[in-house]
Structures are given as structure tokens and as C-alpha cells.
């Protein structure tokens, strides 16, 4: 069961501002999604190790070498706000 409180909590963590109506809608919708997925709980997973990755891959590496950097001016030109060569952000706490 998803409660209204769960939705408010998750919204805060994701920095989402939700209206009253949205909270109600999402509480129901998220609840239905979890209900649907709960069918998996019926499976016996006693002897199944937790899956770490969906693909049968391991040990994919790169060598330790420096490559090309992006042009700082090009990057900063996309920033909502900047000062000199820094990104500028609102006060954090």
C-alpha cells in the first residue's frame, strides 16, 4: 500500500512540487503499480541469488588515460546561472 505520506516524501526527495489533486492521483496510481508488481512475491526465490545486473557481463574496464575535455565556455553557456568559470546555484540550506 502506498500512502499519501509516501507520495509526499518521495516528491520532496525528488524536489517535485505536487498539487493536492496530483498527490491523490499519484497515490492511487503508484498503489496500482505496486499491486501489479506484487504478483512477483508469489514466486519462491529462496535459492535465487540477487541479480546484480541484467546483462551477462562483468569486468568492463577502461585504461587509465586522460582524454579530451569539453570546452568550459561551451558548457557554461548552457548553465542557468554562472559566475566567471563557475556554475552558480542558489543557497543550499
Amino acid at each position: 500500500m502506498i500512502t499519501r505520506k509516501d507520495v509526499e516524501h518521495v516528491a520532496l526527495l525528488g524536489r517535485l512540487e505536487l498539487s493536492e489533486e496530483e498527490i491523490e492521483v499519484y497515490t492511487k496510481q503508484l498503489g496500482r503499480i505496486l499491486d501489479y508488481a506484487s504478483v512477483l512475491n508469489e514466486l519462491d526465490t529462496e535459492n535465487v541469488p540477487p541479480m546484480a545486473h541484467v546483462l551477462p557481463l562483468q569486468n568492463v574496464f577502461r585504461q587509465d588515460a586522460v582524454g579530451r575535455h569539453l570546452d568550459p565556455e561551451a558548457v557554461l553557456s548552457h548553465a542557468p546561472d554562472r559566475e566567471d568559470r563557475f556554475f552558480r546555484v542558489p543557497r543550499l540550506v
Binding site: L57, Q58, F86, R91
Partner: protein
């Protein structure tokens, strides 16, 4: 209500000294103009994929071996979600339930002998960017972000709550730094942030087995600050408990200027990182063969080196401890020793004059203006009687200041020891003639009087007279002089 005992555990982050970042080819170097070591991966742009730097794994395995850990055959990465502008992805790639290594330890020296401190786990993760505030984080009007550090490889090393005093915590942190430095995988410079220490501390009535409520102290920027912050926090907690109050579990920040710990207020709800397996990175399998390969490259560690200095060079335990406190000091000492194989003499100079001048000028030994070859040359000049031990210190200072070779300094400044007996005899006769009372004292058996006369000779030769010759000639001069 009796006495309380503190219980301390440390979380230490060490930046690895790789060329490139952990998941992308951007430079991992310290410093650099803001936002120049950046690429789409460390900026968290859409559609990019992280790829693990192989060297990071090798370095982490090396640290794990040096700290006596068990290395996981199978480990994986997880996303730690939090919303803060120092990480542009809004999550940090870290390791959660399957860390690279666990169950290690190191040993520290305490008043009561050697003590083993457990290491709970070591995992690898990416560093976050650097935030600049005007004043403090709570009063700044806005903050500036530099992403150069974002994605620099980090080791997080978590200890067991095995320390029982601020001094033990310091000994543990220093020993850990020393071991990591010896392996060469990190600079471990606290002032540059390549070594960062967070402390967990609680107190409990002495004799109690249960743990008290702990607080976590951040922003400790030196070993001295670690001791001060812990002392303050322990006192604060004990005072609260003695008043019948309760400790609140929280994160606190050390205010170096005021000498206090303060609660760190944060909008983020209590740690809710919603870890889940990182889908962009496949798991990591570390074979026995790979661990053995890294093991073969593991250099001699501080404890082994210290024991060897006592055993092989016959140095006092104190000297051996000082010379092996950092890898660079030991390397310098050994470089000198290859050229001038007298351990105690070299040790005296390295721990004495060299350490003094390095401290005074805030210079790292690796950057010492006096090279091992020059120190060895100087010591040979003393042996040959070209300069006295005292003058050698003057020469050493000059070599340190100018980088010139000792022979050149001696020549330029006319510091060659005076061994010409005829020249010395003239000076000695003058000194004897000028100090009849002291000479009489010596004749009456006051040995100290001779020291004064030697001093006078040294003074008029600017310290260049050979002390053994002066000593002999003075005695002869006094005996031969008519009363």
C-alpha cells in the same frame, strides 16, 4: 555516576592518484582552472555511460591488502541518491551491500602497547564537486560549483568503533595515512582534501558494554583538529548525560575558529539514499590471480620498514619510527645510506638539521634542496677533517638555501677547517696570555675552564679550528707555559 568512556570510529576518504577519473577519461589532477577537467560523463549529461578505470580497482585492492582485508571475489556498484549540486547526476556511484573489501585491521602504538583497530570495510566511489561559499554554507547568498573533482576516484575506509580516546583516533588516522602513502596510491594530503576524516563518537559509563547514541563530526581538516573536535564533543556529550539529558543522533560540523562542534542543519530528510544496483555498470569479479598480481607489486609497509631499520641498520627504535613515518623520509634516508653507509650518522642529520630546515621552510622532503648526494658529500668532508661538525651545519644551511654543492660552499666561504698547527698555536698562545685567571683555574683542576678557552679559540677562528687539535695544543700550551 562515575566516569565515562568515549567510543570512536573513523570514516576516512582517500582520493586515488590515478591520471583519469573513475568512470571517464577526464583528468583527475588536483587544482586546475575551475570546470576544465570535465566531460559529458562526469557532468551527468543524458545518454552517457560510465566505464570503470581498471587502475582504480588495482589501487583499491592494494589498499585492501595493505590493511589486511579480505577482498570480495564478487562486488558491484550502487547508486546513492541525493539532491545536491556537488553531483550533477543527483546520485553518487558508490558500493553499498557488496563492498570491495571487508574485515581488515591495522595496529597502532598506545601508552599500553600495541593495539589492533578493526577495519569494517573499504569501498570505491566517485568524489563530488567542490562548492564555494561566501562565508558559511548557511549564510552565503549563493554558491559556486567547480566540477573538476567530480568523478575523482575515492576509497572510503570505515573503521570499527575500536578507539577509546582522541589520541587513539589520531594514531589510527596517522597510521592509515602512512600505510596508504607507502603504497603510493594516494597523496593523502589533508590540506588539499585528498585525505578526509569524519569521526563517529559516543560515550558510555565506564564498564558498560552497550554503545551510547553517536554523533558524526565532519569538516575536520587536520589531525590536530581531529583531536580537538573529539575532545570537545566527548566533553559536550558527557555534560549532557551528567545533567540527565539525552544525546541526539546527528551530524555536526567542527568550527576550527570557535573550537566547537555545531549541528549541521540540512533540508534533506534523514538519510534516505534509496540505494539500488547501478544499472550502467556490470559487476566486478576480482580473481585470486589478479589479487596475487597486485600483491607482488605491494611495496614494503611502515611496520616492516621500521623493524628492518632496527634489525639491519641497528638504529634505535625512536629513529626507526621517525624515519618510517612517511615513505619519502625513508626513501631519502636510504638514498643517503647507499652513498654513505653509516646509518646512525645519516639518521642524526635527517632527523636533525634536515627536518629542522624543512619544517622552518614548510618544504616536503621530496623537494629538499639538499639532495642525498650532497648530504653524503658533506658527511665525507667531516670524515676527512675538511670541516668540523659545527661548521658542517653552517655548510648544510647554505646548501639548503642555495642548492650549491658542499665543496663549493666550503671553498667560496673559506670554511675549510684549520688544521695547521703552527697557525693554531699562535692563536692559542694569545688566548692563554689574555686569560690568566682561567688558565690558573684549569691548573687547579677545574676541567670546565678548558671548555671556555676552547670556545675563545673557536671564536677567533670563526669555528673553523679542528677541535681535537685545539684541545691537545691548549693542554700542551698551558703545561709548557712558565708560571
Amino acid at each position: 555516576m562515575g566516569k565515562y568512556e568515549p567510543v570512536i570510529g573513523l570514516e576516512i576518504h582517500a582520493e586515488l592518484k590515478t591520471e583519469s577519473k573513475i568512470f571517464c577519461p577526464s583528468s583527475a589532477r588536483f587544482g586546475g582552472e575551475p570546470n576544465t577537467y570535465i566531460c559529458p560523463v562526469c557532468l551527468g549529461l543524458p545518454g552517457v555511460l560510465p566505464v570503470l578505470n581498471k587502475k582504480v580497482v588495482e589501487y583499491a585492492v592494494m589498499a585492501a591488502l595493505a590493511l589486511n582485508c579480505e577482498i570480495a571475489r564478487f562486488c558491484k556498484f550502487d547508486r546513492k541518491n541525493y539532491y545536491y549540486p556537488d553531483l550533477p547526476k543527483n546520485y553518487q556511484i558508490s558500493q553499498y551491500d557488496l563492498p570491495l573489501a571487508q574485515y581488515g585491521f591495522l595496529e597502532i602504538d598506545t601508552e599500553n602497547g600495541r593495539k589492533r583497530i578493526g577495519i569494517t570495510r573499504i569501498h570505491i566511489e566517485e568524489d563530488a564537486g567542490k562548492l564555494l561559499h561566501q562565508g558559511t554554507v548557511t549564510t552565503t547568498p549563493y554558491s559556486l560549483v567547480d566540477y573538476n573533482r567530480t568523478g575523482v576516484p575515492l576509497l572510503e575506509i570505515v573503521s570499527e568503533p575500536d578507539m577509546r580516546s582522541p589520541e587513539e583516533a589520531r594514531a589510527y588516522a596517522e597510521k592509515l595515512r602512512s600505510i596508504i602513502q607507502f603504497t603510493g596510491i594516494s597523496d593523502c594530503k589533508m590540506e588539499e582534501g585528498s585525505l578526509r576524516v569524519d569521526a563517529n563518537v559516543s560515550v558510555r559509563p565506564l564498564g558498560s558494554k552497550e554503545l551510547g547514541v553517536k554523533t558524526e563530526i565532519k569538516n575536520v581538516n587536520s589531525f590536530r583538529a581531529l583531536v580537538r573536535a573529539l575532545e570537545y564533543e566527548i566533553e559536550r556529550q558527557v555534560a549532557i548525560l551528567k545533567d540527565g539529558g539525552r544525546i541526539v543522533q546527528e551530524t555536526r560540523t567542527w568550527d576550527e575558529g570557535k573550537g566547537v562542534t555545531l549541528p549541521l542543519r540540512s533540508k534533506e530528510e534523514a538519510h534516505d539514499y534509496r540505494y539500488f544496483p547501478e544499472p550502467d555498470l556490470p559487476p566486478l569479479v576480482i580473481t585470486k590471480e589478479w589479487v596475487e598480481e597486485v600483491y607482488r607489486g605491494l611495496p614494503e609497509l611502515p611496520d616492516a620498514r621500521r623493524e628492518r631499520y632496527v634489525r639491519e641498520y641497528g638504529l634505535p627504535a625512536y629513529d626507526a619510527g621517525v624515519l618510517t613515518a612517511s615513505r619519502e623520509v625513508g626513501d631519502y634516508f636510504e638514498a643517503c645510506l647507499r652513498l654513505y653507509p653509516q646509518p646512525k650518522t645519516v639518521s642524526n642529520w635527517v632527523m636533525g638539521e634536515l627536518a629542522r630546515l624543512l619544517n622552518a621552510t614548510n618544504t616536503e622532503i621530496a623537494d629538499s634542496p639538499v639532495k642525498p648526494e650532497q648530504l653524503a658529500d658533506l658527511l665525507r668532508l667531516i670524515d676527512k677533517g675538511v670541516v668540523s661538525g659545527k661548521i658542517a651545519k653552517t655548510v648544510f644551511e647554505e646548501v639548503f638555501r642555495t642548492g650549491k654543492d658542499p665543496q663549493a660552499v666550503v671553498k667560496e666561504q673559506g670554511l675549510v677547517q684549520i688544521t695547521d698547527e703552527a697557525a693554531l698555536k699562535t692563536i692559542i698562545d694569545e688566548v692563554i696570555a689574555a686569560n690568566p685567571k682561567v688558565v690558573a683555574d684549569y691548573r687547579e683542576g677545574k676541567e670546565k675552564a678548558l671548555g671556555f678557552l676552547i670556545g675563545q679559540v673557536m671564536k677567533s677562528t670563526k669555528g673553523k679550528a679542528n677541535p681535537a687539535i685545539v684541545n691537545r695544543l691548549l693542554k700542551e700550551g698551558i703545561e709548557n707555559k712558565e708560571i
